[in-house]
């Protein structure tokens, strides 16, 4: 009989799902009555039923109206049900709003960078960038002649422009304060190629360049901010690097240049390039006679031309261009690359974009799980609804459609709210160094798409399962009410939510911890520390003039009351303070020690540097004022350098310094006069460092560092006065106190860490709300069981423990999973987790504790409700 039953079950798989229970029962009875000889009839019977069902479906399909028939009914019905279940609606819409809002904000950032990077540029698809490159990844500087060759030699391009970024010392006419302003030297066709329009006046014409006409174009921001939006701006002029230039035009609002570091505020033609270009000794020179310089060449394709054509034509120019270059290329081959104009290299940016979207997508996933759980709970409670509709002739598809319409409406409501959230956060994430984040058509499209996808994800599963349960006409409504997902699936979902939450929280905590460590690195003690950037190059100071100016400045600053130490350093030291070691400075060799460290961090620093930065001398002395005169004859090194170069004894040893790596530049011998201690700051202890007291070459741009007794900001005006008294045309560059440095540094990383943490908290709130909903639902479902338990003598406390245990076990499992996952991710991005181990116990422990406590709180209320169930009431209701 058991074999017969098994065979029957196997055959029953052929029978249509809806008829299967009845068929099995009927045949079981018949087999019981007639014996095994009945069995052969089961198979043909099953096939017949299947065929009949198929025919019936075909008939009903032909006669039924289209699938979108009476869609408005579904919508109206859905809106009615939302109105009657307000807390449910709010819970789902709120969850989805958070998830969709976060995802949309991330997309808006990606969109701003990849799809619409340059505001006010016309028809960007027709623009290309032309570069000379020795390989496939980098690009090199080019000369004016290279530009001319490229301009004439690519017929596919309508025109080609060239631009060079520079800093200018600018003062408005009428005696305004001189300022350092970012700007661009451009060919006359620059604005025409980009298709930018002027807000006032005009842009350059060929005659401006041909006749060397003094003229400058300013940005809208500069006009508003520093010229007070003067309506007669076209009658005014600016003192730019010592030359008086009339303003001929103002750019349209929103345009800040293309590929400029920071925004550009003024433009001059290459005819005036001697205002910016210098020889090695600091003499002004025209660009066409200058060494290769960094530039950006942008061209516009002819209407019918393609980028491939331009590429091919450009490739043909590589050979003649290479021949005109000197040996600087070495063995590398020269390529001419023509690429579409984009902010970032899409390949490199793709990784960042993915990373950017992952976290918000995780939050959205958690929100969807919540939505699905709540939807299942509510749909199951409407089982009577479904049965009545089925009895009245509704098809399963109609029920599914109803549920999908409800999910879609909820998702759209969540998306609308999410879009509002996106508006708010757009300005906040601006700080992550992206171009302006704007909510444009792309973003709106994305939101709508995200809403639809979300609706499908969290709505389809419940719709299919709930309707299948309804349609199978299960005789006991109780079985139907239990919910189609089953407790195992629900537990798995809770576990997933907990894992994702923990991952986010722990990662955020680790990032925050990392930043704490980084902030200590390399920065001087912030109290009483001030740094001022200066650049005399715009005023065309020669080498001697520059050195005179700076030594005067230093001497007078040292005499200011309250100043404990003052020093001059070059820009590489400034970069170090900003947390970036980007240049290796000079070339060091140690005579007699062939394998002395070659990659050494070198910086120009006067005597007061060490005291200003709080560095301890352990041997020898700092520089004397005589040693400030060039050429440098003394150096101060750190212990790491000593260890690598000399082994031990350093004082009195000699090193050779060269300004750059190329052979043939002046080489100087200098003696080690002092050794600074291994500092707790990793930069000074990890790298070999050499400081020299006089510039090796013409250094027009230097930083002044000052340590004062008391507030650092108070001394800035005094320094301003000293600079004006030496040269009133010279602007101060950046002025920053120790606190400013601390805050400005790693702003991007800080915001990133804070964002991850905030999203982690949001995810936690969502997951807790979800767990609360799930546990409430389970308690409602199992009221009968709980009532029976209590009637049989179970106490409230044991029921409470039971519910808590069942709801928290998946949470704990999720914690373990999440910890593993976050650990894996952390070890992948180890390079950014500075000073914090990938599985930092404090971060993980704290996050796990927060998660578990929150989940306990979330399940407590429904658990207590369960423990207070009155068994009499429950059983009476059965």
């Amino acid at each position: 009989m058991r074999i017969t039953r098994a065979a029957l079950r196997l055959v029953s798989l052929i029978v249509p799902h809806a008829d299967r229970p009845r068929w099995v029962e009927e045949w079981t009875a018949e087999l019981r009555h007639g014996g095994w000889r009945m069995l052969p009839g089961a198979l043909p019977d099953a096939w017949t039923l299947r065929a009949l069902a198929r025919d019936e479906r075909r008939l009903t399909r032909r006669s039924s109206p289209g699938i979108f028939h009476a869609l408005d009914q579904d919508v109206r019905y859905a809106l009615r049900t939302f109105g009657s279940g307000k807390s449910f609606t709010l819970a789902v819409v709120g969850s989805l709003a958070i998830g969709i809002g976060a995802t949309t904000t991330a997309f808006a950032m990606v969109n701003a960078t990849l799809f619409r990077p340059f505001p006010k540029v016309h028809a960007q698809d027709g623009l290309v960038r032309v570069m000379l490159a020795p390989g496939t990844r980098t690009f090199i500087s080019s000369t004016w002649d290279d530009y001319r060759v490229l301009r004439e030699g690519i017929p596919a391009l309508e025109s080609l422009s060239i631009a060079h970024d520079a800093s200018f010392a600018v003062a408005p006419d009428g005696g305004g304060e001189p300022r350092t302003v970012g700007g661009v030297v451009v060919s006359h066709n620059y604005f025409d190629v980009l298709g930018v329009r002027p807000a006032r006046g005009r842009f350059f014409v060929p005659e401006d360049e041909a006749r060397r006409r003094p003229a400058v174009v300013v940005s809208h921001t500069y006009w508003q901010r520093y010229l007070a939006g003067d309506p007669s701006v076209l009658q005014r002029s600016l003192d730019v690097n010592g030359a008086e230039l009339p303003i001929i035009g103002v750019v349209a609002e929103g345009f800040g240049g293309v590929f400029t570091r920071g925004d550009a505020h003024l433009w001059i033609t290459f005819a005036l390039s001697d205002l910016v270009f210098r020889t090695k000794d600091g003499q002004p020179i025209q660009a066409r006679d200058a060494e290769p310089f960094r530039n950006t060449m942008i061209g516009r394709l002819k209407p019918a031309a393609t980028i491939e054509q331009a590429s091919a034509q450009a490739a043909g120019l590589a050979q003649p261009l290479a021949e005109t270059r000197d040996r600087s290329l070495g063995k590398r081959e020269l390529f001419v690359r023509v690429e579409p104009l984009r902010v970032a290299d899409p390949e490199r940016f793709a990784l960042m974009a993915i990373g950017l979207m992952v976290v918000p997508l995780i939050v959205l996933a958690i929100a969807c799980v919540n939505g699905a759980n709540l939807l299942v709970a509510r749909a199951s409670q409407r089982s009577v609804d479904w049965l009545v509709r089925l009895a009245l002739g509704a098809s399963r598809w109609r029920l599914i459609r109803q549920l999908l319409v409800e999910s879609l409406l909820l998702a759209l409501a969540g998306a609308a709210l999410g879009l509002v959230l996106c508006f708010w956060t757009a300005s906040y994430v601006q700080v992550l160094a992206f171009p302006a984040v704007v909510v444009d058509a792309n973003v709106v499209l994305f939101v709508v798409g995200a809403a639809a996808a979300t609706a499908l994800v969290f709505g389809l599963g419940p719709a299919l399962s709930v309707t299948r349960a309804a349609v199978s006409r299960a005789p006991e409504a109780g079985r139907f009410l239990r919910g189609p997902f089953g407790s195992r699936t629900r537990a798995a979902l809770v576990m997933l939510q907990a894992a994702l939450c923990l991952g986010l929280l722990a990662t955020g905590a680790q990032f925050m911890k990392t930043l704490q460590v980084i902030w200590e690195d390399g920065l001087p003690e912030p109290a009483g520390f001030l740094t001022v950037s200066l650049d005399v190059d715009p005023l065309r100071y020669g080498r001697d003039q520059a050195e005179t100016f700076y030594s005067q400045l230093l001497a007078r600053v040292e005499e200011l009351p309250g100043v404990e130490a003052a020093a001059l350093t070059d820009r590489s030291a400034a970069q170090m303070l900003a947390g970036a070691v980007t240049s290796w400075g000079g070339h060091i060799a140690v005579p007699g020690v062939p394998d002395a460290p070659r990659d050494v961090y070198t910086a120009y620093a006067t005597a007061g540097f060490f005291e200003a930065m709080g560095l301890q001398l352990v041997q020898g002395r700092t520089f004397t004022s005589e040693e400030h005169r060039r050429p440098p004859r003394a150096v101060v090194v750190n212990e790491t350098f000593v260890g690598r170069a000399f082994g031990e004894h350093a004082l009195g040893r000699v090193v050779t310094l060269a300004a750059d790596r190329e052979a043939g530049t002046a080489v100087v011998e200098a003696m080690v006069v002092g050794v600074i201690a291994l500092d707790r700051r990793p930069l000074f202890s990890r790298l070999p460092v050499v400081f020299y007291p006089a510039p090796l070459t013409h250094e027009p741009a230097l930083d002044l560092l000052v340590r004062v007794d008391g507030g650092a900001a108070a001394i800035a005006p005094a320094i301003r006065t000293i600079v004006s008294s030496i040269d009133p045309r010279l602007p101060l560059g950046r002025v920053a106190t120790g606190e400013d440095l601390r805050r400005q540094r790693n702003v991007r990383d800080y915001t990133l860490a804070r964002t991850v943490s905030v999203l982690g908290i949001l995810a936690l709130v969502l997951a807790a709300a979800g767990l609360y909903g799930v546990v409430s639902y389970m308690v409602t479902l199992r009221q009968k069981e709980i009532g029976i338990r209590m009637a049989l003598g179970a106490e409230g406390a044991s029921v409470l423990r039971l519910v808590l245990r069942q709801s928290l076990v998946p949470v704990l499992a999720g914690c373990v999973l999440g910890a593993l996952g976050a650990g894996v991710i952390a070890s992948l991005i180890r390079s950014r987790l500075y000073g914090v181990s990938p599985m930092d116990p404090v971060a993980f422990g704290g996050a796990a504790l927060l998660l578990v406590l929150t989940m306990i709180v979330a399940s407590l209320a429904p658990a207590r409700r369960a423990s207070r169930v009155d068994p009499v009431n429950v059983l009476r209701a059965e």
Partner: protein, 112 residues
């Protein structure tokens, strides 16, 4: 399935009824309600009877239901499904019987 149903062509708008179907209708008319009993009385195998019953039910000539629980429980066995003729089924049967009687009168009996 291996067997061929000879279809008796009838007036339009009436479903084509096979011999098997006819036998089943007759058996039902004679009071045999369960699938097993129909098998016994018609001597047709279960693989023939049951598919035919399904088709007759789809054509609404026959209807089915579960027997009373009480009866089955008294006899200590699972409840069975029983079949009976609908009004349309009774009508079909009467028409078929009339036609067969008419067929019998078409040819004179062999006088052997």
């Amino acid at each position: 399935m291996g067997y061929v149903d000879a279809h008796i062509d009838m007036a339009p708008n009436t479903p084509a009824l096979s011999y098997t179907g006819l036998f089943i209708l007759q058996a039902l008319a004679q009071g045999h309600r369960f699938g097993f009993d129909i098998m016994e009385v018609t001597s047709l195998p279960s693989g023939t009877i049951y598919p035919a019953l399904r088709r007759l039910e789809a054509l609404e000539l026959v209807t089915s239901d579960w027997e009373k629980d009480l009866q089955a429980r008294k006899e200590g066995r699972p409840r069975r499904r029983y079949y009976e003729l609908t009004k349309a089924g009774r009508h079909q049967l009467k028409e078929a019987e009339a036609r067969f009687r008419a067929v019998g009168r078409l040819f004179p009996k062999h006088a052997d």
